[in-house]
Amino acid sequence: MSAISETRTPARTAAIGWDVGAIVKFVAVTVIALVVISPLFLLVVASLKPDRFQILADMGSFRAFWVSNPSLDNYRNVATFSGALPFGRYLLNSLVILFCTVLGGIFINSMAAFVLAWGRLPGRAIILTAFIALYIVPQESIVLPLLTIVNKAGLSDTFAAQILPWMASPLYIFLIYQFFIQIPRDVYDAATVDGASPFRIYWSVFLPISGPVLATVAILLGIETWNQYLWPLMVTNTDNARPISVGIASFFGHDSVYWNSAMAASVMMMAPVLIFYLAFQRWFVSSFISSAVKG
């Protein structure tokens, strides 16, 4: 035994050690990943079981990971516009709010950032400072006064009430501003010499080269809008403009929860995000990082 270990050169031991270590690590990461992701897997499996009592009974065993005869009944129930809780409607509402907020948000925030970065406006620095200062105000501490303003404006229970307040955001203006000021002065000057108006410069010079930062803003604003809960909970009181997050939450608070429908609705809420995530994974991760370094 000792003879063998003595014949090994140190380099060789290191090589073998690395290989074994790498395999152990790979297996460990795989197992951890499976455990961590299992709740999402359970969600999808449960959504294919039409019997809500079966879902609960299965949860405590390995049957939770398997569905013997998958059915789309839950999705069919949930998607109809006329059900007890019209999830098709909620999903559509959420998509409308998402689309308008993100599209409007990109233009409004990037236009503001453009002026703050390049415009010849007196008091530019003051406005910029004011925006940055306002960034610190948490949404939670303004929602109640905002509710009175929205009620007075007659906007309660509308799409507008869920879109307008969150389109313009100091954080996103600042993110785009930081991108714009890094663009060399020459780019702006060259366009001015050509006689282009400020809007024209913004539209055909700055926007086309701002893909990365606009994608970041779109992703962050999109996730934020999709996951809004407190505000729509307060501002919607009928199904007209209620988003899917509040719709799903209304499953709770009854004596018996319709788990089958709740699971299917949850998958429906998750699906759009997941599709975008799979398509633009790199963008998602870098977006979250750039939101982190704003401080």
Binding site: P39, L42, I142, A168, I223, L230, F252, S266
Partner: protein
């Protein structure tokens, strides 16, 4: 071109923010009564600061923060360390581990409510298995001792992905030469972690700490959906207290005072962040 943003921010951010200071000094109701609201001075603040329930909410948020910080950040750092080393399919794993972070909290609540199910949910089954059937099943979300730890666990699961990528970015900022130098000096894996990795992550730690604390003070969704602040107020939070006062009980003045306190708490935490970070650089 600046105008749309300025108008929207003024109407929907600045105006409600400023008016909350005015409303907080009155007894205004959410749905106006025939009698105009009356100026009550600092009465609302006095009432909050002498309300046992408010202090309990504040204490619950503090408890939540103390519990969620080590769980969430510890796990995030561990996964980041694993993903930062040589590993096949590293990007695939990173994408996988980030999935909970893009899952909406409402969806997380649906899943975890079934996981916490009493008495036959997975957590109780695992508990029974590990204790050879000795331990009684626990009503995780209904037991005053377990409700907050359960909320902590599901919150940490949802949010660790963000900390994970922040740590990953931090780890990539540590120069490789430091590790090589440490290795030449004969430092083992453990020593390298404590003497190179941890000091190198100082900024990241501070940042993660501050962000997690601020988020913890805004804790609302999962509590509102799963426990409504119960059982016996053990998961009541500052935002939930504000929501109940302002929206459920319609006491807008009182709730605005809570909102202002919340703003100042967040402000202080943010100033501390600036101070600590500036001090370093």
């Amino acid at each position: 071109m600046l105008l749309p943003a300025v108008i929207l921010v003024t109407i929907f951010l600045l105006a409600p923010f400023l008016s909350s200071f005015r409303i907080a000094l009155t007894n205004e109701r959410l749905i106006p009564r025939p009698v105009p609201p009356r100026f009550v001075g600092l009465g609302n603040f006095q009432q909050i600061l002498t309300d046992h329930d408010f202090w309990r909410a504040l204490w619950n948020v503090a408890r939540f923060t103390i519990m969620v910080l080590p769980v969430q950040c510890g796990f995030a750092l561990a996964i980041a360390l694993l993903l930062n080393s040589k590993l096949p399919f590293r990007n695939f794993f990173r994408g996988l581990f980030f999935l909970p972070a893009i899952t909406s909290m409402v969806v997380v609540c649906v899943i975890w409510a079934t996981l916490f199910q009493y008495p036959t949910g997975p957590f109780n089954q695992i508990l029974g298995f590990l204790s050879f059937g000795m331990a009684e099943p626990i009503d995780w979300l209904g037991d005053p001792n377990w409700a907050m730890p359960s909320i902590v666990l599901l919150s940490a699961w949802q949010a660790y992905g963000f900390q994970m990528i922040v740590y990953l970015a931090g780890l990539q900022g540590i120069p490789e030469t430091l590790y090589e130098a440490a290795e030449l000096d004969g430092a083992n894996r453990w020593q390298r972690f404590w003497n190179v990795t941890m000091p190198g992550l100082r900024q990241t730690h501070i940042f993660v700490l501050i962000i997690t604390t601020i988020q913890a003070f805004k804790l609302f969704t999962q509590v509102n959906i799963l426990t409504q602040g119960g059982p016996r107020g053990t998961t009541d939070t500052v935002v939930h207290y504000m929501f109940t006062a302002g929206f459920v009980d319609q006491r807008l003045g009182l709730a605005s005072a809570v909102a202002i306190l919340l703003f100042f708490i967040v402000l202080v935490v943010s100033i501390v962040q600036r101070f600590v970070v500036k001090d370093r650089s």
